[in-house]
């Protein structure tokens, strides 16, 4: 019995020390980690809304505080709305693929950035492949300028060229973006008609 | 033909080696003049060796008893020429190693012992008296296994024999000794069979002959009618090993001898045609087993013949009589090509179980280096015992004897079908023999 108490005590002491150390480390790294997350999000938002002022991208939240989408303005005073950004999540082959997508006020995609994916290297992961000599991932670049009706992969009869051997990943990205766009459209009550075709 | 063949009773597995019987099947049995010296091993049967009762210098006549059996499962040997006992010493034996043998120098008179006399009243002898005469004649199965005949004819009372089978299948390729014997001595064979039936009193009797010997089937049918024996002559499809006891019983009666059992476990008893004739000689003429028909054949012999040979005659003597061997002869075998035993020394003597002397040329023997198993499964299809030879082969060669036993290595009848069909030319039978030997040794050790 005495033995058990002694051993328990030692174990307790070791655990307490470990907990203390970890607490200290967490204290130091927590702001850094949050900063990293924030930076990643910011980078994604900037990529999604390239025409917006970095300081003027504001989240739109629902009553529970969940972010629904972002509004991007061209000036720090948030008067000139250039577009919206939203996070699209699609079920890929081996992970949830999170994509930050930006559209202009007419619903045309103006920027896209995949935030996280854990697809098969060499196959599904090619949705982030940057071809030699290019700056942006070729798969994602296809989406620029597309509207809702174009968001179908080639296998489903659409214009988006899927990654060879990775239809599932390609489809996941494409469909999640289309659905996100539809949701956004509902939330904001419809996009503006494109300028070239004035409303009837 | 195809339909009738498939409807006929047979056993599972088996192979169709080239028969090569045409070399000798039309050659009548010739009497081989006795050699100047015969070598008679004291053990030519399965069981305890017999003990010499003569000594060097004794003079003997044909049929004089040379040894006394040392137990129930043991038979004596007899002089096969008249002459003088020159030596009693170890001599090469066709089953390998050296065995104590009685060497007799022939005096050329070829005189028979006085004890060899016809007995006109032999049919009234009791079963026991017949068995005694059979034993005194030194009879051991002449099909090859050489099990003492009187033992086989004494089934225990709890294992009644209801079926007797006379084995004239002669499924070994090349060999025609039994075939010729049936053609030329059908009556004596059937008379011998009659005696066996008298001893055993079975309910039914068959004579099984492969249908490549239809002439023998006819002759035997006639002889059966003439002698007045209640036996059915059955022509069996040609398939090796049709003549193996268990396969023959299966083909004729549909019964399967249980694993590790004997034919008497299913009420059957099988005897070779040569043995039947020798039984007739032993009982009716009190004539011991001193000679037998041997097929001297193979393309390595200049003239293939069927010979009546005295026991103890060196192989070389018989071969010389057949014109010697050819230049390209590479293999000398006692018995048939499937189960026979390769000989190193042509001076070994003919023994009671010698059904053939086979000399193969290089082309016939097709000697090839063994390759590796490609798991083609042909051996499994060929095995008449339902074993997996290639599995046993690797188990034995990895010394996993207990597993080999589980996989049935002890059930192997060493018929050679597996090794015959093996495209890799693996020495499968050799492995089986090794496995059986090793397991036997272990069992002995364990007591």
């Amino acid at each position: 019995m005495k033995d058990v108490v002694r051993m328990g005590g030692i174990l307790g002491i070791v655990t307490i020390i470990a907990a203390g150390v970890l607490g200290a480390v967490a204290n130091v790294t927590k702001p850094r980690i949050e900063e990293q997350h924030r930076l990643a999000l910011e980078r994604a938002l900037l990529a999604a809304l390239p025409t917006a002022d970095p300081r003027a991208i504001v989240p739109v939240k629902d009553e529970n505080g969940n972010i629904l989408y972002y509004k991007g303005y061209a000036d720090p005073d948030t008067t000139k709305l250039v577009g919206y950004a939203f996070l699209a999540i699609g079920k890929g082959y081996s992970s949830d693929i999170q994509t930050m997508v930006g559209v202009d006020t007419t619903g045309k995609i103006i920027g896209i950035k995949i935030l996280s994916e854990l697809e098969t290297p060499g196959l599904g992961a090619k949705i982030e492949e940057i071809r030699h000599g290019e700056k942006r991932p070729w798969f994602q670049a296809q989406f620029i300028g597309k509207t809702k009706k174009d968001l179908l992969v080639d296998k489903d009869g659409g214009p988006i060229v899927s990654v060879t051997g990775a239809t599932i990943s390609s489809r996941a990205v494409t469909n999640s973006i289309r659905k996100g766009l539809e949701r956004l459209e509902k939330l904001i009550g419809g996009f503006k008609q494109p300028a070239q075709q004035p409303a009837a | 033909m195809g339909l009738s063949l498939s409807l006929r009773k047979t056993f599972k597995g088996g192979v169709h080696p080239p028969e090569n019987k045409e070399l000798t099947e039309h050659k009548p049995i010739e009497v081989l003049p006795p050699p100047s010296t015969v070598v008679i091993p004291v053990q030519q049967h399965i069981g305890a060796p017999s003990e010499p009762v003569v000594k060097a210098g004794d003079s003997v006549k044909i049929g004089d008893r040379l040894t006394e059996p040392t137990g129930f499962v043991s038979v004596p040997v007899h002089a096969t020429v008249s002459g003088t006992v020159k030596a009693i010493e170890a001599r090469p034996h066709p089953l390998g190693t050296e065995v104590l043998s009685i060497v007799i120098e022939a005096d050329g008179e070829d005189a028979w012992s006085d004890a060899v006399q016809d007995d006109p009243n032999y049919e009234s002898l009791s079963a026991d008296e017949m068995r005694q005469r059979i034993r005194d004649a030194g009879l051991a199965g002449m099909g090859g296994a050489a099990f003492p005949t009187h033992v086989k004819l004494s089934p225990p009372p709890n294992k009644p024999i209801d079926t007797f089978i006379l084995n004239g299948a002669e499924c070994e390729p090349y060999l025609t000794a039994d075939h010729r014997l049936m053609l030329e001595h059908a009556e004596e064979i059937v008379l011998g069979m009659k005696l066996i039936l008298q001893i055993l009193q079975p309910k039914q009797a068959f004579i099984g002959i492969e249908d490549n010997k239809m002439d023998a089937v006819e002759v035997m049918k006639k002889a059966v009618k003439q002698v007045g024996v209640d036996a059915k002559v059955v022509a069996l499809p040609v398939k090796y090993p049709q003549g193996a006891e268990k396969q023959l019983i299966k083909a004729l009666t549909g019964r399967e001898v249980p694993r590790g059992g004997l034919p008497m476990d299913v009420g059957c008893l099988v005897q070779n045609v040569g043995t039947a004739r020798a039984i007739y000689h032993a009982v009716a003429k009190r004539r011991p087993l001193v000679e037998r028909v041997v097929t001297v054949t193979g393309r390595g012999v200049k003239e293939q013949k069927n010979l009546l040979v005295r026991i103890g005659t060196p192989f070389s003597h018989a071969l010389d009589y057949c014109g010697g061997v050819t230049e390209d002869a590479v293999k000398l075998i006692m018995g048939g090509p499937m189960m026979g035993i390769a000989q190193f020394n042509p001076e070994v003597p003919v023994i009671k179980g010698t059904s053939g002397i086979l000399v193969l040329t290089e082309r016939e023997a097709r000697l090839r280096e063994p390759g590796v198993c490609i798991r083609c499964g042909r051996c499994i299809e060929a095995c008449p015992m339902g074993l997996m030879p290639t599995v046993l082969h690797s188990l034995v060669n990895n010394k996993r004897f207990d597993e080999a036993k589980e996989y049935g290595v002890l059930d192997c009848i060493e018929c050679g079908s597996c090794a015959f069909v093996c495209p890799a030319k693996l020495p499968l039978v050799h492995s089986m023999k090794w496995g059986k030997m090793e397991l036997g040794r272990r069992m002995k050790k364990a007591g």
Partner: protein, 349 residues
């Protein structure tokens, strides 16, 4: 009698004329019609793929055996057959290095590393194919060459797909319509329906070989010609092919349709893809299939089940190679399970 060295060996002293090399070369010969057909259908490029695969297979075997100080046994024909089968499992327009690397892998890591002929647990040619498929999926799954003599109304090559691939895509569309009609454009549905009906009418193309696909798998007729020869020579028997093809037919009939049970097209599934090639020439590979008759039945059924699962549920349109490879691994177990009954039944106590 003169002194002579008699050769002594264990019985039997006769043996069959069959030998490993005879078997292997005749298997190669039985594959010849399909090879000639491939050259006819796909042109000279197919001949080059076959040539490079065979040369690399034989060369690798010889080189490894030489390096390991073992006797060189390429003349037994087994490496030749491996090269041939690998080539038959590749698109006709493969670049020359693809069959070479595939053969090197097949022989080196599929066969010699295990000890050479007789010791490889899996079919080396299929292992080579699996390796290539994992390494260069684009090269292994894109079929650009239209077979000489026509295709299934042009649709299979126009889209660069094999009939099975096309079927899978079209059926995917039809299934998706059922789940979520709004997501699929009507024109797409019409196209899928048309493709399926065209495919199901194309038995003639599938049988004679006028379809896209791996170079050796397209002509059922030519493959059966070779298979008939092997059956006649008794180098293969019907247990594995019958149970394999039968299982595929049954399961695709039951589950292969989009309108519920028993609406599939079993004949299409049997004729399309590599099933005939696989069932007669690769699943029957002696070294890697069971040796026991009962085991062979089970092996064929297992191959069939896995093939259908891959074709209907899995990510690939075709499942023959993987099903055979997977079943290869079960062979020791199957053989242990399927021990034949020993003559005389249970051991006497």
């Amino acid at each position: 009698m003169e002194q002579r060295m008699w050769k002594v060996s264990a019985s039997p002293h006769l043996n069959d004329k069959e030998s490993i090399s005879k078997i292997m070369w005749l298997v190669a010969a039985s594959l010849a019609p399909a090879g000639i057909g491939a050259v006819y259908f796909f042109g000279a490029h197919a001949a080059w793929v076959i040539f490079w695969a065979v040369v690399a297979a034989v060369g690798t075997e010889a080189a490894i055996q030489k390096l390991m100080g073992k006797p060189v046994t390429v003349s037994d024909g087994s490496a030749f057959v491996t090269g041939l089968l690998l080539a038959y499992n590749m698109p006709a327009e493969s670049p020359f290095w693809l069959p070479i690397i595939g053969s090197i892998f097949a022989i080196g890591l599929g066969k010699q590393i295990f000890g050479g002929l007789g010791y490889n647990p899996m079919n080396p040619a299929l292992l080579g194919r699996a390796f290539l498929l994992a390494s260069w999926p684009t090269h292994m799954t894109i079929f650009k060459t239209a077979p000489h003599g026509g295709t299934i109304s042009g649709i299979d090559v126009e889209t660069g797909a094999t009939p099975l691939n096309l079927l899978k895509l079209s059926q995917d569309v039809l299934r998706q319509v059922k789940i979520n009609p709004a997501e699929v454009p009507a024109q797409k549905v019409a196209e899928a329906t048309e493709h399926i009906s065209k495919l199901y009418d194309a038995y003639g193309n599938l049988f004679w070989g006028k379809v896209g696909g791996c170079l050796g798998e397209t002509s059922v007729f030519l493959l059966l010609l070779g298979a008939a020869f092997l059956l006649y020579k008794r180098y293969i028997d019907l247990r594995i092919p019958v149970s394999y093809i039968g299982t595929v037919a049954l399961l695709t009939w039951m589950f292969g349709g989009t309108d519920g049970l028993f609406t599939g097209n079993p004949l299409f599934h049997v004729l399309a893809g590599g099933l005939i090639l696989g069932a007669f020439f690769m699943a029957t590979d002696m070294v890697t299939s069971p040796i026991t008759p009962k085991g062979q039945w089970a092996f064929g059924i297992g191959c069939g089940v896995i093939t259908v699962v891959i074709r209907l549920i899995g990510g690939y349109p075709e499942g023959v190679s993987y099903s055979i490879l997977l079943m290869n691994l079960t062979v020791p177990l199957l053989d242990r399970w399927a021990k034949p009954t020993i003559f005389g039944g249970a051991a006497k106590k």
